[in-house]
Amino acid sequence: MVEDVLKLVRKAEEDAEKLIVDAKNKTADILSNADKDAKKIIEDLEDEGRKEAQIIIEKVKKEGESEAKKIIDTEEKKASKLEKESRKNLGDGVKIIVDSVLNL
């Protein structure tokens, strides 16, 4: 009778021990998975950052190109206008040179 009781208690203790071992094993899995997830979270955010950064760089580059083109176009128009208007004074410029060379 006592032996039977001890057997039952031992069995219960073994089951209890198994519960703890299982829980510890599960803990290791949980933590290992958490490490993997954490690594992936960081990698994903890093990737996300790189992709968004590329979009920002492309966008700003396009804006820069557009702004640069605008500046060049405007100044080229100014240069063209300046050349056209100054050409009217070319005769005066030529006269200054000729008169100076001839010592007039």
Binding site: V9, K11, A12, E13, A16, E17, L19, I20, D22, A23, K24, K26, T27, I30, L31, N33, A34, D35, D37, A38, I41, I42, D44, L45, E46, E48, G49, R50, E52, A53, I56, I57, K59, V60, K61, G64, E65, E67, A68, I71, I72, E75, E76, A79, L82, E83, S86, R87, N89, L90, D92, G93, V94, I96, I97, V98, S100, V101, L102, N103
Partner: protein
């Protein structure tokens, strides 16, 4: 019967305690896992923010460089446009001088240029080097030039002409001092170019 029930209570308690402990262990693990992920999210977000911040700064720098390069290019376009016109003025002036050297008024121009150059060299025994075709133009004015130079420099002046010149204008050589002043159109154009550039620019872009 009661004894059996007591044993069952004991074993149930053992199992129940173990389950609670196991649950506690798993709950701790879950909490730790949550913390690891939260920490990873924070670290990932920081990395992302750093990447975006760097990209923003780099993009801003690139944009500034592009605009700066464009501004320089644009300014260069204006300067090139001005330079083109200044060069054109000098080219046209050279053509005009060439025409003058072939025209009727050249005789007067040559006389004036020769006189001024002889005065500049200080008079004396001088040789006037001109183009072969211009020798006759100058010969008939020689006496007048000698007088004018003497009057201006106070020095007796004697002139002779050489037709070895290659271009319009005159080279005056002082035969005693072996000094010469090159007053050919070509040389005067080059000598005067630096100071004329400014005057021409003022006339063109007023």
């Amino acid at each position: 019967m009661e004894e059996h029930s007591n044993i069952e209570k004991i074993t149930s308690k053992i199992i129940e305690d173990a389950r609670k402990k196991a649950d506690g262990i798993i709950e701790d693990a879950n909490t730790a896992a949550k913390e690891k992920k939260a920490s990873a999210r924070k670290k990932g977000s920081d990395i992302k923010a750093y990447i975006l911040d760097s990209a923003g700064k780099s993009a801003e720098q690139t944009e500034k460089k592009m605009i700066s390069a464009a501004t320089i290019k644009a300014r260069t376009a204006i300067l090139e446009s001005k330079e083109k016109l200044i060069l054109e003025a000098f080219e046209k002036a050279a053509e005009e001088l060439e025409k003058i050297s072939e025209g009727r008024e050249y005789s007067g121009v040559l006389k004036k240029l020769a006189t001024a150059t002889c005065i500049n060299i200080g008079g004396g025994d001088l040789e006037l080097v001109v183009r072969k075709n211009d020798e006759d133009l100058l010969k008939k004015e020689l006496k007048k030039i000698e007088e004018e130079v003497k009057k201006s420099t106070g020095k007796k002046t004697s002139l002779k002409i050489s037709g070895d010149g290659k271009v319009a204008g005159v080279i005056v050589r002082n035969l005693d001092d072996k000094i010469e002043i090159d007053s050919t159109f070509k040389n005067r154009l080059e000598l005067l170019r630096p100071e004329l550039r400014l005057k021409v620019a003022e006339a063109l872009f007023r």
